[in-house]
Amino acid sequence: MNKNRYFGLFATTFSVSALTFGGGYVIVPLLKKKFVDEKGWLEEKEMLDITAIATSAPGVMAINTSILIGYRVGGVGGALVSMLGAALPPLIIMSIVGGLYDSFIDNTYVASALKGMQATVAALLADAVFSLSGNIVGGKDVMGTVIMVVVFAAAFFLNVNVVVLILSCAAIGLVRSFGNKKK
């Protein structure tokens, strides 16, 4: 594990966190783009594993995914460095803005820049969903497509809790594994 990797982890989680507005799953396609597509440090499959594991643990998505990626790339040290990278931008920006928030809230310049950035984040999500779902549908396992569609519908239309969904899928996976007996 060289120093460059630690620096890469920190710099990436820091810049991604500084540009992620809104929280939750928004950070996942950004991290995927950086670590899977641009750097090649993770496989797409691992990124999805990490997303699933991060969902099932308590805490904030951005922090959880960063810790998991950091650990995968650089052990406990990597986890710590990534966590710091993800936590520092909101800490710094909120400390500055929190003091002078009256002038910030009514600032139309900030609002207009944000609007443009949000449109790009929406495009990024669309791009990620196209690629990821394409790989699931094109995969050998038909059940993958069924699970994906059902989970989407349950989360989007019925607002079912994400932890309930992800843990149910873990249970389905285990049941299916034991049902297949030993291969």
Partner: protein
Amino acid sequence: MIYLELYWTFFQIGLLAIGGGYATLPMIKERVIIAQGWMTQAEFLDLLTLSQMTPGPIAINASTFTGFRVAGMLGAVVATLGCVSPACVIVTTLAYFYKKYQSLKRVQDMLSVMRPAAVGLIASAGAAIIIETLWPGGIVFDTSFITPDVFAVVIFILSFCALRFFKAPVIIVIITSGAVALAVYLIKGWLN
């Protein structure tokens, strides 16, 4: 001691914030406004607006904002540390188990169902954000479906092409579109 109280309160929030995002809001509200009296309802609304205008998860923003208001810079740091502490321990442990057991057949079987679920969850969040961005007023199928926010649609399509077909670096695309949006706003101001 105020720092310990801040740490402990946000430690609890970090520990109980399951599901993330806006699902955690009622709990933060209960802890910070009702249990501790650190903030008024109006300040909490300001916090929500600020959270939408600044990067970062709402739980972290709430920690920093409250810590700063109650006990200055050190308070902000302590509260934020409290919020990420539980995840630090729990998620690192999970990461350890994932690395150790990911190649086991049973674990692979389990993950093979969780992966498409993760895609479904990302798609659900994505759909919500895309709709909110392109139709800020919400979709009413008779009128506003045909009148989305034109400017947002243009940036959306250009960014999508840049990312998908030209593999442009994502950070640069985000910053560029922010700058373009600001420039357009300024030019509109001059013209009027």
